[in-house]
């Protein structure tokens, strides 16, 4: 038994943030019914790997909501749901007759989560956003980079994942609240506000001290620690950037520094007065980084990591996706990356990464690949609404469940 078995989630989300929230809940056993229409997939398009990656462990239902009959089925499903989640523009579910007010009057325990870009209300409420938009507007792009540059930012859609994590947290909290009160409720999650929240201490520093944080490369913004950076190593198999090898070294204490000096075989420069304390090393971190790079450039990153860690120095190889999948012994030991099948209708060979939560009593080891849109029509509509196979087939033939 998985911990969320018995929870029914009607999922109208698309792209990444919403589907990631419901993927986590599905991995933990919730019955997540993913609603799509084959005719209106848009960014959910099953032609690419995005949809298969973020929609495993969900059941795939097709509803073409341009039909009144499909909207009626949507509402009946919402009346059976514990959770309804969407990231449409504000008001879409209301126009379909299945908004929170409509549904909660008959299903008082229902929880609605809307994961819009900007939240409901306010002058930017209707703004269109993807994660790179949120990164830019929230300050994350400006601050993730090096001094003098504001065109770097985070190299992947980080905020989509974090918004999904907050969405899952919100749903589970509302379920706990409902246990106590019997009442559901509506949750308005703004992906923009999630992003801004991540800069909490920096914003407080601005409001309290008038200090505006600046991009600092690999330095910690508020701790005078050095060395604290990424250093080029030997072993690149080509001139391509992707084949470069790097190691991250983070000395957070005097002990870390002393151990690193030992690992480097006590070079003469390490005794320089510029490096005699943490604050001096931080002050002269440019010179220090250059000297450490001279040391690392002739060494294999993996070897350096092993001798640093053996000596008690925090250090790690900068791993790319190929390293994670093919070489990472820690992920391999836990079978974190796995093949789901050879002949998946969406992707052929199907793969997945595990939920990174290990439950001792309710292990979550069930991984069903994402299904083509509508593949679970009969099962879902039978389980949730008691429709017969014939009724489902008639709906499909009429173009309502496609």
């Amino acid at each position: 038994m998985r911990p969320l078995e018995g929870i029914r989630i009607l999922d109208f989300t698309h792209v990444l943030a919403g589907p990631f929230a419901t993927r986590i809940l599905a991995d933990m056993g919730a019955d997540v019914v993913k609603v799509n229409s084959a005719a209106r997939m848009g960014m959910n398009g099953a032609a690419g790997p995005y949809y298969p990656t973020w929609n495993r462990n969900k059941r795939a239902l097709a509803l073409d909501m341009s039909h009144e009959e499909a909207r009626a089925i949507g509402k009946r499903l919402a009346l059976q749901a514990d959770v309804v989640i969407d990231n449409f523009s504000v008001g879409v579910l209301d126009r379909w007759g299945m908004g929170f007010e409509d549904v909660s009057s008959k299903n008082s325990g229902v929880i609605y989560l809307q994961m819009s870009g900007m939240g409901e209300g306010g002058p930017w409420s209707n703004f269109v956003t993807f994660a790179p938009t949120i990164h830019a507007l929230s300050g994350l792009t400006r601050l993730t980079g090096v001094p003098g540059r504001e065109d770097i930012g985070i190299g992947f859609s980080y905020n989509d994942h974090v918004a999904g994590l907050h969405g899952a947290t919100a749903i589970l909290s509302a379920i706990e609240s409902r246990r106590r009160s019997g009442q559901g409720q509506r949750i308005d999650l703004s992906q923009f506000e999630v992003g801004v929240n991540l800069l909490g201490p920096a914003l407080m520093d601005f409001f309290v001290n008038g200090v505006e944080a600046q991009p600092g490369g690999n330095k910690l913004p508020y701790d005078k620690t050095a060395p604290h950076g990424c250093y080029r190593c030997a072993g690149a198999i080509s001139d391509s950037v992707v084949d470069e090898r790097w190691i991250a070294i983070a000395c957070l204490s005097e002990v870390h520094w002393e151990k690193l000096v030992e690992v480097m075989d006590r070079p003469e420069w390490a005794g320089d007065s510029r490096f005699s304390s943490a604050s001096k090393r931080w002050q002269h971190s440019g010179a220090l980084d250059a000297l450490i790079s001279k040391w690392t450039k002739d060494h294999d990153a993996l070897h350096l990591m092993e001798i640093c860690q053996s000596a008690g120095v925090p250090a790690g190889v900068v791993q790319n996706g190929k390293d994670l999948v093919e070489n990472d012994p820690q992920l391999r030991a836990s079978e974190f990356v796995m093949k789901l099948g050879e002949n998946d209708p969406l992707v052929g060979e199907a793969f997945a990464d595990r939920l990174p939560i290990e439950f001792s009593k309710t292990p979550c080891n069930t991984y069903r690949p994402a299904q083509p849109v509508g593949a679970d029509n009969t099962d879902v509509l039978n389980d949730w609404l008691d429709l017969s196979s014939d009724e489902v087939r008639q709906g499909e033939e009429a173009g309502h469940f496609v």
Binding site: G122, D151, H161, E176, E193, C230
Partner: protein, 401 residues
Amino acid sequence: MAKEHEKVMAKKEGALHGVKIIDLSDERAIYGVKLLADLGADVVRPEPIEGYPLRARGPLRDGEQSAGSSLWHAFFASNRRFFAVDLDQPEGRAQLDRLITQADIVITSDGAFGCDVLDIEDIRLRNPSLVSVECTSFGESGPWRDYLAPDLVAGALGGSVATTGDVDTPPLKCFGELNFVVSGAYVGIAALAALRHARETGEGQHVHVPVHHCIASCLEHVFMWHWYNEMLGNATDKALERRGSLHWSNAYVVMQAQGGSIMVTPTPDVDAQLVWLIEEGVAADLLDPKYQEIENRPEFMRRMMEVLREWVGSKDVQALFFDAQEHHAPYGWVLPLDRVAENPQLDARHWWQEYNSGGGDFKGPGNPYQFSETPWSMGPHGGIGEHTDSVLSEIGWGDER
């Protein structure tokens, strides 16, 4: 109207009201405990008599160390009750034991204060529904189990660092410690999921959350680039190099405009973007029929980004951002922190909250979600051991004497 609404909400309880949590987390999990505390859980954070070292983390109020001056701590250790306890003494260890015996959830990070004196399974014999969530860097086994991994190292090994930075910079971490935000959030989810099971069955359990795996699970394209690179027409290798702000799809990138930078994308409606460029008289050769051929679409996108870059360079950044949003184009103005702090959307949603720490009030971040019936709230930030007496009283410490 807004004030009336606030009054009504103030009388209501948070979503997690009544959930008792003991917080023995460090940086790796503390964000998740914050999420639960801010949602109304009763979170007790044990700390050494002299205070937890994290109370000294910057940024600091007025830049100086003093009681309650850590803004980092005010943010991440919000809404806690602080319980000072001497774990070198048998009495202190017994107090912590009893505290957890009466809790719903205990959250630990290996090596954090109190974690090495606990026998969770022994406590579970007396509190069978106890949920224990342990956050470690790499898991309970494996060759890297004991590796030291502050945020930068965790991000390097977890894959986020390789993905960030540009060809002429080193691989870069995200600002602050955002890898630990991910692991912390997973800890919160793990706790709530196991709590749900305990509520349904009475059965508690131990839950493990490895930071390394959490980071690897939140890398957007990285795994699909490896697994499905043949489906991605522009994938030539099993990994993608760091390349500044250019998204893996080649369709999002930060460009220089007049007066600032802006993230520009012709997606999701490329045709609408093309019409906009035609209206502006800058469509160049984008209407060339060759671009209608499916095999030329990657070249079309590359050319589209070239045309956009030239056009954007002539535009005022602020006007372009709002014009783009009028066109339903998800451009994003690259804002510095002072502009974020005065954002009209956040003001209109009354997003900012008042914090109180060290005797002073100040403005800070608000809630990442708004619940219609169970308010999110920010209470005053407690000093070292401020709630020790009330915590001991609640667990009945001394009643038997």
